[in-house]
Symmetry: D2
Subunit: 155 residues, 4 copies
């Protein structure tokens, strides 16, 4: 049997845009033969999580040390074209607005490679604007985004 | 052991607003102790499905007989207040725009009864605008909403 | 528009067997056109939760007051026949062994009514043996099932 | 911002045991603070899918060309220790029995690296025996596992 290196899921940052690859598994699909619409929000959250990790922000530590918690305040999502079983998607995350107590993300899911469809890759599948609020983990009231994160993001 | 009637999940229509109750189970929650954000989209789809069923539109039959399929084209969702394990939510569905090839739904999740929190019920948890496109099930191209459904909805 | 009563999801107890109805929604299906296999475990957990609620055991209260937590220790599940979109399932829960620190459940998913298939109802879809351990919520070590629950279950 | 290579999720084969890494995201957790029990079955299916892909068996192609479909017939799963948000798991898949019309998998989830817990890695979290049946995709009746796959697996 052939040998390959185990790789944990990671991602890349090009300019200010973070991108990671996500494989579509059976669990993600529905009877329509495509990815169930709510699952794009899962993919997009994975990308935000990995983006923050790339910047050195582990959300667990943020919670434990800084008593700060990120929650989704609103999401606008446009479903452009369906992803299918076995497709590999490229999911991006970019902070497009930085407010005192919130981060505005612009995110896209594109086809990285298609197994079953004839698409040539790069096709836009879904795009979203997601507003993340920073809460005090004790009071659950809005509070300022940690200064060190703001500094990293504003470069 | 006490006896109670088995009841399948249904819903009610008041004016033009359909409403059904949804219980929050373990599967719906996340480590933050609340309902995972993407799961509100599941609840809202259940309400749209039951609303259409109330009107006599079983989506399976619609697919098999009319070769029409409804897909979500876009969703804007506002997360107002978190739902918790064991809460009962009231999820509404109302058609607020009726276009040639799409239906615009306005939907809300409210607290019907709270088990763990002190809320008194009726609190708004999430609201959404969801655009549903009608597709030809063979070509997957947009096509007119079935006339009989339009007729029922425009009353 | 016709009016019907809103009903929250509940269930019935016949003999010692609890049963509740579950509707299959889009979220539950996969590209194979049937319910995704892991989702039967969600249905079965809903039935266990409602069964305990019927007995007066709200898991939230159990956690808050008694500092007891139920976790799944093992599950053996047999997938007999697939459920489909829009089917209504009857999901049962029965305690078949009562140990000092665990409950053994026997559970089944049967077709209550079929929308798309020709089945006549009652067909077995999945059956499972699920072992639930009772943990001390603070130490997360096994501890005795609350005596009052044992008393109710042993009748 | 630092740059890293985008990597799609893959895995390795050591002896006959395939292994891939899976990150725990918010979507996977529940209010108990750990991975929701049914989600281990999702992780295990991802590993089976990637294992088959490593052997050159894309399930989409298997369906389209050979009209064969793999379905889960039974699963026995033992939940040993909980995984938490941000943990990286190592999920294995090994074919331990090869029957005419079924494959028996032995699978494990181990902690590859822990973010929040003190565990030192390698700890067993869950183990399972999963029986996969090969069906004729048209009749949905059991049929022989493709000979070429048997040949690869029996080495």
């Amino acid at each position: 049997m052939s040998m390959s290196q185990p790789e944990s899921q990671s991602g890349s940052v090009s300019g200010e845009v973070f991108s990671m690859e996500v494989r579509v598994y059976y669990e993600d699909t529905d009877v329509g033969g495509v990815v169930y619409y709510a699952n794009y929000l899962k993919y997009m959250e994975r990308a935000r999580t990995e983006f923050l990790r790339t910047l050195g922000y582990d959300q667990g530590a943020l919670m434990a040390q800084d008593r700060r918690q990120f929650v989704v305040k609103s999401a606008f999502i446009d479903f452009v074209s369906p992803a299918r079983f076995d497709d590999v998607l490229s999911v991006t995350a970019e902070v497009t607005k930085l407010r005192r107590a919130s981060l505005h993300f612009t995110q896209q899911c594109r086809l990285a490679s298609a197994t079953k469809s004839n698409n040539s890759g790069g096709d836009l599948l879904a795009s979203a604007e997601v507003v993340i609020a920073c809460l005090d983990a004790d009071s659950l009231k809005p509070c300022a985004v940690p200064g060190s994160l703001k500094m990293v993001l504003s470069h």
